[in-house]
């Protein structure tokens, strides 16, 4: 009886603090976000905004029926897939092959420092490096690989988004290096790999059959969230992207800031579609996590 009397106020306090925490979280993050999405939805349906003339599906039809919107979505997915795919693959290979290198050696400082660089600065650095007038182009010219700077390929502001992918790759690589280095020790991968060796696995088999699946499984949610972050990025594609193939944030902002006010509801429509996609992915992730 005494124990129960002792525990009840404590449990009640815990419950209260949980509710306060959840309430604060909802008020500061989810609520403004929901308000924003709600307003965007109303605007896209002609139910809000200065030009509102009552309910209409015209803007949704215009966006969903336009080829450029789907090209933008496909291009955004392509950029996110390639940059995150490359960063995850390389980070995993490096950590599995040389797990101790990134823990506390002086080298690790130089590997991690790109994490502190803002996206716009990274975009500028990549522009300086890969553009037609950039460092690589000049080096290629000096080496006689190209006759003039104009012959240097369109790595920046080009159709394939190489500049955007490179910038995101350099920003994501150190992040995943840190993540996998910590996971390597936290998940006891050294022991698991040694176990695989004595069971007959060579280095490649141990990496493919043990280390990679364990790391991928544990980092799956983080990889998907980073993928969404890259898909929705703005500064890097603004500076390094082309005019004809835009990423989703750039297209949205352009529509929002155009002189043609009729484009504004379309910008809101795009943001609603993108938000729904993100929420669906996050819900799917949560479901998948529960099953694990």
């Amino acid at each position: 009886m005494r124990t129960t009397a002792h525990r009840t106020p404590h449990t009640e306090m815990q419950k209260t603090s949980t509710y306060i925490g959840l309430g604060l979280f909802f008020a500061l993050t989810a609520f403004p976000l929901l308000l924003g999405i709600g307003y965007a939805l109303l605007f896209s349906l002609g139910l809000a905004g200065m030009l509102s003339e009552g309910f209409t599906s015209e803007h949704w039809q215009a966006v969903l029926g336009s080829e450029s919107f789907w090209e933008t979505m496909a291009f955004s997915i392509y950029v996110a897939l390639v940059s995150i795919g490359l960063a995850v693959t390389l980070a995993m290979l490096l950590v599995v092959r040389w797990p101790r290198t990134f823990e506390s050696t002086p080298l690790s400082f130089f590997i991690y420092w790109p994490l502190a660089i803002p996206a716009i600065v990274m975009a500028f650095l990549i522009f300086q490096l890969l553009s037609k007038g950039g460092a690589l182009s000049r080096l290629a010219f000096q080496l006689g690989l190209v006759d003039g700077l104009s012959q240097f390929p369109d790595w920046v502001n080009g159709q394939y988004g190489i500049g955007i992918i490179t910038a995101h790759f350099f920003m994501a690589l150190p992040f995943f290096l840190i993540l996998y280095t910590q996971m390597y020790s936290h998940e006891g991968l050294k022991g698991l790999m040694q176990q695989a060796f004595t069971l007959g696995a060579n280095r490649r088999q141990a990496a493919w059959r043990v280390a990679v699946p364990v790391l991928l499984r544990r980092s799956f949610a983080t990889v998907v969230l980073y993928f969404l972050f890259v898909m929705g990025s703005y500064e890097i594609p603004l500076l390094l992207g082309s005019q004809s193939r835009q990423m989703v944030s750039v297209l949205t902002i352009q529509k929002l800031q155009r002189f043609n006010l009729a484009d504004i509801p379309q910008a809101y429509t795009i943001s609603v579609v993108y938000s729904v996609m993100v929420v669906a992915l996050v819900l799917w992730l949560l479901g998948a996590k529960k099953q694990v």
Partner: protein, 239 residues
């Protein structure tokens, strides 16, 4: 001799861990090695498995020098105190791991894993993931995963150290039964006196990097250094 370690020396920096250690192990024999923490037991097993290199000395298996062979080509399985099951594979696939590496036909994999599961009294757990098992069950799966590839030598590094007393006792009996059924050749490292006596056909004592193997259990019990006499005195005093 089936397994032989000759004049093994190993140090980490200034610390000498193994000092001119030699041992011999006959086929189908289980040698218990008793030793305190830091006596060099784990280092010895890792050298035998090929996970560490000795500074000096050699390891021979059926007369063949193991020095140039990497761990995956020695057919010596090292089992840690922790079962170290692969967390992304279920019980069936954990046990099948070595067979899959050797590209065994699917029919053979199914049959042999099912037999092993029955031997380990785990047939109902086949589809469970490692985190859904108890400590004892996990350790049994680790045994199954090792035994299914018929290793020439099994190195057991305090395999029951993390188990409670009751589970530990039943696991000791299970291992004794399996060792007999599979004619296992094994080194069993422990810091428990009773466990060393139960598990080993012969017993060795490891102290400060040196190994002393006794001719009989009687000789082991009579040696004051093993601590058996002190243990017996303790129980007599309680009586």
């Amino acid at each position: 001799m089936f397994l032989e370690a000759k004049n093994i020396n190993k140090g980490f920096g200034a610390e000498k861990v193994l000092d001119d250690l030699s041992l011999q192990l006959a086929e189908h024999e289980m040698l218990s090695i008793l030793g305190r923490s830091g006596s060099g037991k784990t280092t010895l097993l890792k050298i035998l498995a090929g996970l560490e290199s000795p500074d000096k000395g050699m390891v021979l298996l059926q007369g063949q020098d193991m020095g140039p062979l990497p761990p995956n080509r020695r057919n010596i399985v090292y089992l840690y105190q922790e079962p170290l099951l692969f967390p992304h594979l279920n019980v069936f696939e954990n046990i099948a791991f070595g067979l899959r590496l050797r590209k065994a036909p699917e029919g053979a994999v199914q049959k042999r894993v099912a037999e092993m599961l029955a031997n380990l009294e785990l047939p109902e757990q086949a589809r469970k993931m490692p985190h859904q098992l108890s400590g004892g069950q996990r350790q049994r799966v680790a045994f199954g995963r090792a035994l299914i590839i018929n290793p020439k030598v099994l190195l057991l590094d305090e395999p029951f150290g993390a188990l409670d007393a009751e589970t530990r006792a039943s696991m000791q009996q299970l291992l004794k039964r399996i060792a007999k059924a599979f004619a296992i050749t094994a080194l069993f490292v422990t810091h428990g006196l009773k466990e060393a006596l139960i598990m080993g056909d012969r017993i060795g004592l490891m102290q400060q990097g040196e190994l002393k193997v006794y001719d009989s259990k009687k000789a082991f019990i009579e040696d004051v250094e093993t601590g058996v006499q002190a243990e017996m005195d303790f129980w007599r005093e309680i009586e």
